[in-house]
Amino acid sequence: MATAAITTERENYLNKEYGIRSWLLTTDHKRIALLYLASITFFFFIGGFFALLIRLELLTPAGDLVQADTYNKLFSMHGQVMIFFFLIPSIPAVLGNFLVPLMIGAKDLAFPRINLLSWYLYIIAGTIYLHCIVTGGVDTGWTFYTPFSTAFSNTRVIEAGISIFIAGFSSILTGLNFVVTIHRMRAPGMTWSRLPLFIWAMYATSIIQLLGTPVLAITLLLVVFERAFNLGIFDPTRGGDPLLFQHLFWFYSHPAVYIMILPAMAVESEVVACFTRKRIFGYNFVAMSSIAIAVFGFLVWAHHMFVAGISLYSALVFSILSYLVAVPSAIKVFNWTATMYKGSISFTTPMLYAFGFIGLFTMGGLTGLFLACLGIDVHVHDTYFVIAHFHYIMVGGAVMGYLGGLHFWWPKISGRMYPEAWGRLAALLVFVGFNLTFFPQFILGYMGMPRRYWQYPPEFQVLNVLSTAGSTILAIGYVLPMVYFLWSMRYGKIASDNPWGAAGLEWKTTSPPPTFNFDEEPEVTWEAYNYEQIPAPAEVNVER
């Protein structure tokens, strides 16, 4: 942790108190954000390690590096760790936690103790999951499909289920805290139309967390009951419907994709505005598109089930609804692009990630159209095409957004600048490595290579080798920022209060901010993104 690193004289949230207790019992949203940052980074590298092993196994067609059941555990735990312990909490729990009160001019979240409680729930869930990993793991895939998970898998499904159940509550409480904070804690003058787009997207995310997560919770609980107490709600031998689980699961898990991508869009809006020095084109439309995504996101879940045996008619309904959710996503991409028109664009690391995000998200979104299309989905469903598509959204979108945001607000979080040259190099590595890893998988998918295959026919090898090669570059791209962020906490250049010349309340306080965020309560008299009133900083201009 960054406790010892800060040498600025001014009292801030980092140097106010020292010692383990001051961190573990803190109710300061900024410190809790850092606790989350440390814990999700830990899980990110565990999930990443699993991913590398998966890619190494797939280097050759034969199953030769690990056993089949080990491989199955690897991809199951890669998915569960990355989704429930990294992506879901990533931007909301780290950047959201840090920024929501700062951006709306509040001293803290509405329920600081619940905020700490959600971190503890996350840690309890994470500990149970780690225990599950070291004592044998789980091999159900991240999707827990019944009846495999309830009656056939002989791995630690109950433990994984309970762990994710608890993690779900952590996520619910974070969302609840944000919604209440955004409604009740805004500074005087901070009207809804003056809110940063980050807050709008975070609000939309929280709605999904509140209304979707409980359905996953009860579904997993019923799976656990079915294994532990022999209840028979999903059991086909008692007349249960194997598809019922899928309906309930995807009711949460499709909107969960928006829990992961909406916050990344939130970051993009801030970064693009700052480094084009412009108000975001079509503020109202971008804000409303976040809400629209949150609502429409709940109407499309059965597009994961087109070949699962649902009725023909409901497949038609869910297909057409799926296209509705594509429209607000498209609106966002068009608006970010339009924002660059006649801007004053500088190519800092966060902006490079933003460019990467727009590109990769566009490709991920467009391939989503393939999957929402009934005729095509029959062929590419459950193949590597799907894998590539959601990694373009989840890694190309959400992780790029997360890393971009982390660089953008790092001066505010740590009070130090990260090394810009290394930052740009890492952004480039991530972009190149990512495309090399996942683009071949689109081709593999249309060729017909099914997902979750431990061994595969030899004609798929060349594309798999490309993919594995890419994954090593990607890995370096991810390790680099961790190294230089840690380095910068001690050796980085001291950051000014507003090094990017950015609009937004969070830049009006000191770097790092004091414990209660603002020395005096801010009063907002300006519109969001008032870049015409903020001078561009000299150093960003000249740096090459």
Binding site: S311, L312, V317
Partner: protein, 95 residues
Amino acid sequence: MSEHIMSSKFYYTIWIALLCLTVITAAVSFVDLGPLNTVVALVIATIKALLVVLFFMHVKYTSEKLTKIVIVSAIFWLFLLLALSMADYATRLLS
């Protein structure tokens, strides 16, 4: 939320109404109304739930619109879950 205090008599009235409805719903279930049995049971349950929400939980008297929005959204989302799932189950025999 509930700035003004209700008389205790008012609460007793609601309570009596709830008890009566409970007895009615149990009694009606023994009468053969065909498919209407289910409808009657659900209508009575909804009336009871409304009584509790509006009067015991003070939603009728709150000036806060947001509470009502939250309740309506929760019910709407539950409806989405049930309706869109049933869209599959109800049409399976057709295809």
